[in-house]
Amino acid sequence: MATSSSASSLSPPQSGGAMVAERRGIPAASFVEDVQVYLNQLGLDVNSTLAFLQERLQQYKVVEMKLLAQQRDLQAKIPDIEKCLDVVSTLQAKKGTGETLLTDFEVSEGIYSRARIDDTDSVCLWLGANVMLEYSCEEATSLLQKNLENAKASLEVLVGDLQFLRDQVTITQVTTARVYNWDVHQRRVRQASTSQDS
């Protein structure tokens, strides 16, 4: 298929910023050195090329929506984990003193109840999928820390993917503009030469 072969053959890496063929399933947009050469290599006329580039843009948009949704999820998860860590560390701090902790917690919307938490060594963590496990305070802290680090690492990778994606979108838009301008220029040249001949 012309699409996948052109990605690697068309643009040799230049100084600074090597081109990758794709990143985690996102095809890279090939950078066009010369519009004429690009059109010859694709073997398509201008309109088909423009249509192909538009299609690529649509595909990128779809992937971008998906990645943005994942990013939103992660960004909501991270404060949650931090809140849990807060609670566990508060319990741990209280452990030595032997005081009971009084808290008000939400039973239902707008309805709160008081709870007395005595000195305790363990907490229960909700792991999802209707599973809750009891952990000692230290184990709970390390588990929550690990989850937090994983979430932050995933978020970083995701942000990198989004940046790569946006770069490809920019390249594709610039290529579209250049192909269009080239076409306008060609028409003008042809018109000028035909008006000269007549």
């Binding site: 950078f31 066009v32 807060d86 508060t90 902790l101 009084l102 808290t103 008000d104 939400e106 770069d167």
Partner: protein, 127 residues
């Protein structure tokens, strides 16, 4: 052969493309930063309000939100906690503002370079 304005023949090199990409990335990051700065400023204001309320109240035990529950915490400890949180937020806000300044400077640099090469063929303004 005359070339009227519009369809210019300025070639786009890989370096130009990378500059354009970088400008786009910086622009996106700038918008994200502005949102984050707004949130951090609001958080700061909330801490201010909270510590003011604390001074006014005459209760000894304050219900302080930790996670999803409100723990009964003595007033002094609440004060200490709020101060600590204020410090963290202030430092975070400073870091965000520094990053924003650096990005604005980089974007101005790139604008100069790109407008010099492409003049009218490129538009780098916010719509």
């Amino acid at each position: 052969m005359q070339q009227s304005g519009g369809a210019s023949e300025t070639e786009v090199t890989w370096d130009d493309q990378q500059n354009i990409n970088k400008f786009g990335r910086l622009n996106n990051r700038l918008h994200e930063l502005e949102d984050e700065i707004k949130i951090a400023k609001e958080a700061n204001e909330n801490f201010e309000d909270a510590s003011n309320e604390l001074i006014l109240t005459d209760e000894e035990v304050v219900r302080f939100q930790i996670g999803e529950v409100f723990a009964h915490v003595p007033k002094d400890e609440v004060e200490t906690r709020i101060e600590k949180m204020q410090e963290t937020t202030a430092k975070h806000l400073e870091k965000l503002n520094d990053e924003k300044e650096s990005i604005v400077a980089q974007m101005a640099e790139l604008k100069k370079i790109l407008y010099a090469k492409f003049k009218d063929s490129i538009n780098l303004e916010e719509d």
